[in-house]
């Protein structure tokens, strides 16, 4: 199963992953048009401090507490990818409380949002990976 992996050794803290993520989820054609003058709310987020930085997004856990704890059944894992059914989600944030990575966020639409490996975006492949200039975020098969 290909997953997004992050190696902080190569993270430059440039935050481009966040912008590419935010852009991908808009479905827009031109980043400048869609992200101009807005506060982005990406599904991948940089943690940074004292020269250390790294991006965090959903790990698509083998034992996903978010899915198991979801009170509505809105979160589910299919083909290794944990996705959110925004129709069902009522924004109780039990998943936020469950996620050991802090990778699930409340979203502007009242539901939650999380990385879905861009399977729902027009891009089809994780844009954070493509947007990372230094290979700190990769999308690959790493076995167990």
């Amino acid at each position: 199963m290909k997953r997004v992996y992050v190696n902080e050794k190569w993270c430059l803290g440039c935050h481009l992953c966040e912008y590419y993520c935010a852009f991908a989820s808009t479905g827009g054609k031109d980043m400048a048009l869609v992200l101009k003058d807005i506060e982005i709310s990406p599904r991948i987020r940089i943690e940074e401090m004292d020269g250390i930085s790294f991006a965090v997004s959903c790990r698509h856990c083998d034992e996903p507490f978010c899915v198991k704890g979801c009170i509505t059944g809105a979160l589910s894992k299919n083909d290794g990818i944990i996705t959110i059914d925004k129709e069902k989600c009522i924004g109780c944030y039990t998943c936020v409380l469950s996620c050991p990575y802090g990778a699930v966020q409340p979203s502007d639409d009242g539901a939650i949002q999380k990385c879905e490996l861009c399977i729902k975006t027009h891009a089809g492949v994780p844009q954070c990976v493509l947007g990372c200039p230094n290979g700190a975020i990769v999308f690959e098969e790493r076995g167990a």
């Binding site: 190569w10 430059l12 803290g13 440039c14 935050h15 481009l16 200039p133 290979g135």
Partner: protein, 501 residues
Amino acid sequence: MAVNYIYPEYEVVRNYDRCIACRVCERQCANEVHEYLKDIKKMVADDSKCVNCHRCVSLCPTRALKIVKTDHTFKENANWSGKSIQEIYKQAEGGGVLLSSMGNPEKYPVYFDKILLNASQVTNPSIDPLREPMETKVLLGSKAQNIERDENGRIKKVMPPHVELSVPVMFSAMSYGSISYNAHESLARAASELGILYNTGEGGLHEDFYKYGKNTIVQVASGRFGVHKAYLNSSAAIEIKMGQGAKPGIGGHLPGAKIVGDISKTRMIPEGSDAISPAPHHDIYSIEDLRQLVFSLKEATGYTKPVIVKIAAVHNVSAIASGIARSGADIIAIDGFRGGTGAAPTRIRDHVGLPIELALASVDKRLRDEGIRNNVSLVVAGSIRSSADVVKAVALGADAVYIGTAALIALGCHLCRSCHTGKCNWGIATQKEELVKRLNPNLGYKRLVNLITAWKHEIKEMMGGMGINSIEALKGNRLMLRGVGLNEKELEILGIKHAGE
């Protein structure tokens, strides 16, 4: 200083319609050109700090940036260029020797660009290099001079020490210190994957890279930094650096401030101590002294490794090469005046030496005239920019080429020529941790592998076009070359005919 005579060379042009203030430019500019003004939620730039390295341009996700050359003009004339005027201002202000990075930028002829290659038609089939066997493997070193046979009449297969390259391209000497750990790792890993060699430069060999020994040329320069037995023996070949194309006759100086941590360890000098490479080797004041150093290195390594002597292309290069060929050296590396450097006095870089094409042609001819061309292999350097340059160099007589600047460009270098500031935004010519990490060797080495693989394909295409399926048959095959727009003398030195002949 009340009057500022130094004007910005570049202007940062930001398209505010496209700028989304993501601040990547701000975060990525080590020169602190860009700044986000929170109160007005806008990015601004200080042009005077810009070195035109394009880091911000490359990373801007909305392509909102471009850097343009300023159209501000001095009152120039044919004699007094803006450059000359500006340089005088700088020296009047600072009182120092002008220092520059990378190779000679001046408008001297680039002979590679005035040479055309041949191809087969009818009388001799061209060869499809993608499918048919096409050999680019090269062995560097001297050749056995005599055929000796054992009691059964079988040839004694004693080959002088040599190195093998899958393609006649090597990464030239760039020291750890002048370039970063990650740049070095990229070069070492790429060389290893490609089956070619990279060169440590004069800065010693980081212990992490001993494992790439089979693909390493270790350099012995006048400063002898990091030179010890294990260093010499961990290599595939040893290079004595006599000179460098960018600064013939000039030594090197890495300021003490850069001698920290691993650099100090690798160079085997105390932290903070200046690393000075004298202009000459102070144990070599004549050609016979060179022979002494060559053989001392051979002794130290049990005659198992070829010894390279690297010189800058200077006016009597062919006579010098002839002397080296008789000194026990196995390989002569000649560095032309367009070769790169981390820092060289501008006047030296721009006014000393000669183009590698002429140096190569004359050295190859001289060695052949003396019948000693097979005593040594010839490696040339000094702005080999493409596979066509490689093919032309080989056809002029080189066994292989070194690439330095081209390799750095592959790693992301944008030729901003500010290596000497140590603030390389691409993580190449810097030791600042936060900048060094910008060059991820996992990506870097792959880019180098891609570059050389692409060149290899192209070399094969060109060879195939000529109906040549082995690089040996290209070496010195000057009939495959024709000059355009060259005068008789130039053609004579290059040993080629004019196009149409």
